[in-house]
């Protein structure tokens, strides 16, 4: 039985009428056209499908759309702020932290969540936090470097604000 679900995606409210048990991933991609969120396995093993739900990284292939109702969802399309890329996007770009790029949206959202809670992580903390995000092009060294760079940029801008 389809139901109506209220979603808040990238700061905008929207409703979808759908099976409440459908994965959020499918609803984002198929119903809302937000194809920046990628499928890799559908069972929580690759985190390619990561989105932020109330600021926390969530594998959208495992979250049902009904459980996402009413919560703040941010996808890769909603991360860039007016007038520019998010510092983590900036850092992945400058570091060249991508080969095929398929894992990159999930990596960036997960890194953004890390820096939100821990603005100055150590390398070990970065590796630990990013560990579940698979990259088969195996650009892990550059990905860790990009997160480090984003953290440093954040520290700089905080100093500038003071």
């Amino acid at each position: 039985m389809d139901v109506t679900v209220d979603l808040n995606v990238n700061g905008r409210s929207t409703t979808v009428t759908t099976d409440p048990d459908r994965p959020l991933l499918d609803v984002l991609r198929e119903d809302l056209g937000l194809t920046g969120t990628k499928y890799g396995c559908g069972e929580g093993q690759c985190r390619t499908c990561t989105v932020l739900v109330d600021g926390r990284p969530v594998t959208s292939c495992l979250m049902t759309v009904s459980r996402a109702a009413g919560r703040k969802i941010v996808t890769i399309e909603g991360l860039a702020r007016e007038g520019g890329l998010h510092p983590v996007q900036e850092a992945f770009l400058s570091e060249g932290a991508m080969q095929c790029g398929y894992c990159v949206p999930g990596m960036i959202l997960n890194a953004a969540a890390l820096l939100e809670t821990n603005p100055d992580p150590s390398d070990e903390q970065i590796v630990e936090w990013m560990n579940g995000n698979l990259c088969r092009c195996c650009g892990y060294p550059k990905i860790v470097a990009a997160v480090r760079r984003a953290a440093a940029a954040g520290a700089l801008s905080r100093r500038g604000e003071r």
């Binding site: 991609r29 056209g33 937000l34 194809t35 920046g36 969120t37 990628k38 499928y39 890799g40 396995c41 559908g42 069972e43 093993q45 690759c46 390619t48 996808t75 890769i76 399309e77 991360l79 860039a80 890329l85 996007q89 992945f92 770009l93 400058s94 060249g96 991508m98 080969q99 095929c100 790029g101 398929y102 894992c103 990159v104 949206p105 960036i108 590796v127 630990e128 990013m130 560990n131 579940g132 995000n133 698979l134 990259c135 088969r136 092009c137 195996c138 650009g139 892990y140 060294p141 550059k142 990905i143 860790v144």
Partner: protein, 762 residues
């Protein structure tokens, strides 16, 4: 062009497509949408080997929301022919048979039927209503099973080809070939030490994160339009047209972004099926594989059974080598044993060699290329034996390799003589690297080394460059961009034209808009498509010289071009200034480059690995890893490093964890990433990279492709390190904890077997 004159080559500009990849705007295979699009689902065989008695699709056809159902009966019949499927050819009947099974299913996951419906969910549910009656047959899952007397016959019409001749013998061996150089028997009698060992490696998957995805519209005008993620649009076009028995002109393929391929997205699986569904339903059809479909329904890389025998004199000279290589082809012939045989001893100058290769069909998915296909298995075996000989002769393993290293003029057993290659330089860089001399302390730790070789295939590439009035250029080429080749190709054009990398706007053309271009594979794109871009840029320069000559009322031959400036008779004009005057001097300038180079000398790669083995659990941890590779000339050093790190990590995964774990009935028991463990960032050490540059003498910038050779040495280097750490040599991949523990226990139970020892000596 001397090195010092390069302004762009060797620098690290940002990727042209980077922004789209960090914002989620880049369109990959599954992201494409068309109005009225249906979703396809493929029903797959639950059995590894069975005869199909009957397929009844009536219930699926009647299911609400279903618009079309197809089986192999919907495929056209046409005379047998060999079809080029990128990096090799295959009989059309096999390609069709793999697309939708005809009278038999040959592996679990073999496609049997397909449904198109209004949603993926409806399509999947309807597919479950298709009734298939199977007669289950016994299966053969390894080369040893399949070569045994009385083994189940997988392809009834298959006859063994031996030494290039048809034997008429039925069985599962599709081909047995032999390469001979010198007199191996005699060579072994000259040796003071002969070592012979037997090796096995498991089936592994390329593991790209993006599953195969395609959208096809069989248009009302009879034209088939394809949008898909693949390693080469022209190969998809050729294979799709052949399966559907259409002229290539009736098929157009638009390549979308690709989320990893590593060789596994050269062959096609979905396009003709989606086309047939579209033809029946009159609507566009999209099919996206699940992860399980990718594991069970696409081509992994062959498992292998190998024997290597090598002999050397006390002075360290290898006198003879012999290889027996039997690779699992999967359901249809075509195991990558031929390239394996070309690479097995390629790093060495050995006077007497005999190599036997066997291409063997088994009840597993039809195998496909995976980064240096066939070479990694072979190098695991050879480099283990080389390591054992070096140790027995009391020689440093890198010095021993250097004493026997292949050079320009060395003849490989399969015939060709090497052109200028960098094997010696790679080994020297390993020897000179601080990692190699650094002390490695602590118990259960060891250091291993290995080298490996892979080709640069060359092959056809096309490129056009259009000059804009502001002096920027648009570049169009036919190479799908797997990892930054838009930029590495553009940089070669920019260097030639005296422009900056950001003055070039690259795009990848579809099959209607650009000349024929082979797949992105075989380490060829930066090499061959880069070469095509240089040719196109030279064509632009030639045409612009004529324009300058026109302005100056002189002869085009007297106009010179250097670093972005045209000069003649004391006058000069910049590329930008001249670009602004194209309208007045005859109209647009479009340069074209079309090349078909025969390939560079190939690329050598080396690995130094430090490991620690946990004697309680058998877990192997890689502590430090250094990859060395000959790039000829690194166009964009960051991307070269990225390739080296990527290949190293995939090689480490192959060495330690990855494996198709099969039930006796031929079901893959770990067809998910929960149980098929690929390396994650926590599993890995820092991976140091050393780029060696021995320029290819023929390429305009000396490029050698770097995409593949880097995966070849890691499994052997890790295995040699495990041996140095434990005193136990493993002869099978993967070296997972169970395998390591078994080897340790076996050693302890043997007379003279001891406990783990620490041996830092490399």
């Amino acid at each position: 062009m001397s090195e010092s004159t390069y302004a762009v080559v060797g620098t690290r500009p940002p990727r042209h497509d980077a922004t789209d990849k960090v914002t989620g705007r880049a369109h990959y295979g599954a992201d494409f949408q068309l109005t009225g699009m249906l979703h396809g689902f493929i029903l797959r065989s639950p059995h590894a080997h069975a005869a199909i008695r009957r397929i009844d699709v009536s219930k699926a056809e009647a299911f609400p929301g279903v618009k079309a159902v197809v089986t192999s009966a919907d495929l056209p019949e046409s005379p047998e022919q060999m079809v080029d499927i990128g990096e090799g050819a295959m009989p059309l009947s096999y390609i069709r048979g793999n697309m939708l099974a005809r009278s038999k299913v040959l592996y679990k996951g073999h496609a049997v039927a397909a449904v198109a419906a209004v949603s993926p969910h409806v399509a999947e549910e309807a597919a479950s209503l298709i009734e298939v009656d199977y007669d289950v047959l016994p299966c053969a899952l390894t080369v040893e099973d399949a070569m045994r007397d009385g083994a189940p016959v997988i392809l009834p019409d298959l006859r063994t080809k031996e030494f290039g001749e048809q034997t008429g013998r039925p069985g599962n061996v599709a081909e047995h070939f032999r390469h001979v150089l010198g007199d191996a028997e005699n060579g072994f009698t000259e040796a003071d030490l002969v070592v012979e060992r037997e090796f096995r490696t498991a089936t592994v998957h390329q593991g790209y994160i993006e599953p195969h995805a395609t959208t096809v519209l069989w248009n009302e005008d009879g034209h088939v339009l394809v949008w898909c993620s693949s390693q080469g649009a022209f190969t998809v076009r050729k294979a799709t047209a052949a399966v559907l028995d259409l002229p290539v002109l009736r098929v157009s393929v638009t390549p979308l972004e690709i989320g990893g391929g590593f060789g596994g997205k050269i062959r096609i699986y979905l396009e003709p099926v989606a086309a047939l569904l579209s033809k029946k339903s009159g609507r566009p059809v999209k099919i996206v594989m699940s992860r399980q479909d990718v594991f069970e329904g696409t081509g992994p890389t062959p498992g292998s059974h190998m024997r290597i025998k090598m002999g050397a004199r006390k002075d360290g000279r290898i006198t003879a080598a012999q290889a027996y290589l039997a690779y699992e082809a999967g359901a249809y012939p075509g195991a990558m044993v031929a390239p394996g045989a070309m690479c097995v001893f390629a790093a060495y100058d050995i006077p007497n060699v005999v190599i036997d290769g066997y291409d063997v069909v088994v009840n597993k998915p039809s195998t496909a290329a995976y980064r240096a296909p066939g070479a990694t298995q072979a190098a695991f075996a050879t480099e283990s034996v080389v390591d054992e000989i070096a140790e027995n002769l009391g020689l440093d393993p890198v010095e021993f390799r250097l004493m026997n290293a292949a050079k320009e003029g060395t003849r490989r057993a399969d015939g060709p003589k090497f052109r200028r290659i960098g094997c010696v330089e790679v080994l020297e860089a390993m020897r000179n690297h601080p990692h190699y001399r650094a002390p490695l302390e602590g118990p259960n730790r060891g250091r291993g080394v290995a080298v490996g070789f892979w080709f640069n295939v060359g092959l056809a590439s096309s490129c056009t460059i259009s000059v804009n009035s502001d002096g920027t250029v648009n570049l169009l080429d036919g190479s799908v961009d797997l990892s930054g080749t838009r930029t590495s190709v553009s940089m070669q054009a920019a260097e030639t034209l005296g422009l900056r990398a950001e003055d070039v706007r690259p795009s990848v053309g579809d099959t209607d808009s650009i000349g024929f271009t082979e797949v992105t594979g075989g380490s060829r794109t930066t090499y061959a498509t880069g070469w095509a871009a240089v040719e196109a840029a030279r064509d632009v320069i030639g045409q612009m010289k004529e324009r300058a000559a026109l302005l100056w009322e002189t002869d085009a031959a007297s106009v010179e071009f250097d670093r972005g400036v045209f000069r003649a008779g004391g006058r000069s004009i910049t590329f930008q200034e001249l670009a602004a005057q194209l309208d007045e001097t005859g109209g647009p300038v479009v340069g074209r480059g079309a090349v078909n180079p025969s390939g560079a000398g190939g690329s050598f790669s080396g690995a130094i690995a430090d490991v620690e083995v946990d004697p309680e659990t058998g877990k192997v941890s890689v502590l430090r890893f250094t990859a060395v590779q000959d790039a000829g000339r690194a166009i964009h050093p960051s991307y070269v490093e990225g390739q080296m790190q990527g290949g190293s990590v995939q090689g480490i995964g192959w060495a330690l964890n990855e494996e198709y774990f099969m039930s006796a009935e031929g079901a893959m028991l770990n067809s998910s990433w929960l149980d098929y463990r690929m390396p994650t960032s926590l599993d890995l050490p820092m991976i140091d990279t050393v780029i060696v540059e021995v320029p290819d003498p023929e390429h305009p910038f000396g490029v050698r492709g770097v995409g593949e050779a880097n995966i070849v040495p890691p499994p052997a280097a890790v295995s040699n390190a495990v041996y140095r750490a434990t005193g136990v040599r493993l002869y099978r991949l993967p070296m997972n904890p169970v395998a390591v523990m078994e080897a340790l226990w076996q050693k302890e139970s043997e007379p003279g077997g001891g406990s783990l020892h620490s041996d830092a000596a490399a």
